[in-house]
Symmetry: C2
């Protein structure tokens, strides 16, 4: 059984909210100040900042103060552990299908030899 | 901006918990009764059933009553929207890098022509 990776908790949790996914989608197009991230959400700034801190905690976004403006940047490499986990489950599943396939082939061979 | 997909909320939320990821990891190896899913978690049955219902709600697991035993099965196709969303963000990001690359190439050409 895979060990518990608390970073995966943070990553999947960060992406479970539509506002945070929307913010990340915007940042995938390039860095943006907080005000530009906030505008399309229609949410108040404190709420947007809370969402931003969840994205930061997961490592998906970094922010940088530039004078009076806080600029946000997407960190695409942070998505890798999620993709790896999803691929791992798929690989386990496909290995299972391969084993089933081998088993059925063996059964059919045995039946053909016995008949 | 991508439209809000409530199914993605459920999927990412379902995977944000280590017990649920552990249960899914077990089911990727093949169907199992609830008791077998519960054993390695060390949690009480009602807690395990609550986790199971979160996985069911996200479409990641289906359960089936077989006499007195409830059997659980992984539904790997349910992971697709998550993988698609992650890939979409990566594609947006990579398109941005390509545009930056084109821009730098253009600037360098202009500088060389001007010199």
């Amino acid at each position: 059984m895979a060990k518990h990776d608390p970073h995966l908790d943070l990553l999947f949790h960060a992406l479970s909210d539509p506002t945070r996914r929307q913010m990340l989608n915007r940042l995938a197009q390039g860095p943006a100040p907080v005000s530009e991230l906030a505008a399309p959400t229609g949410l108040r700034l404190p709420t947007v900042l809370r969402h931003l801190s969840v994205l930061e905690e997961a490592g998906l976004v970094t922010t940088q103060k530039d004078g009076r403006v806080r600029s946000c940047a997407f960190q695409p490499q942070a998505m890798a552990p999620m993709r790896d986990w999803l691929e791992e489950q798929r690989a386990i599943w496909e290995a299972r299908l391969d084993r089933l396939d081998d088993y059925v082939t063996k059964l059919m061979k045995e039946r053909n030899n016995g008949s």
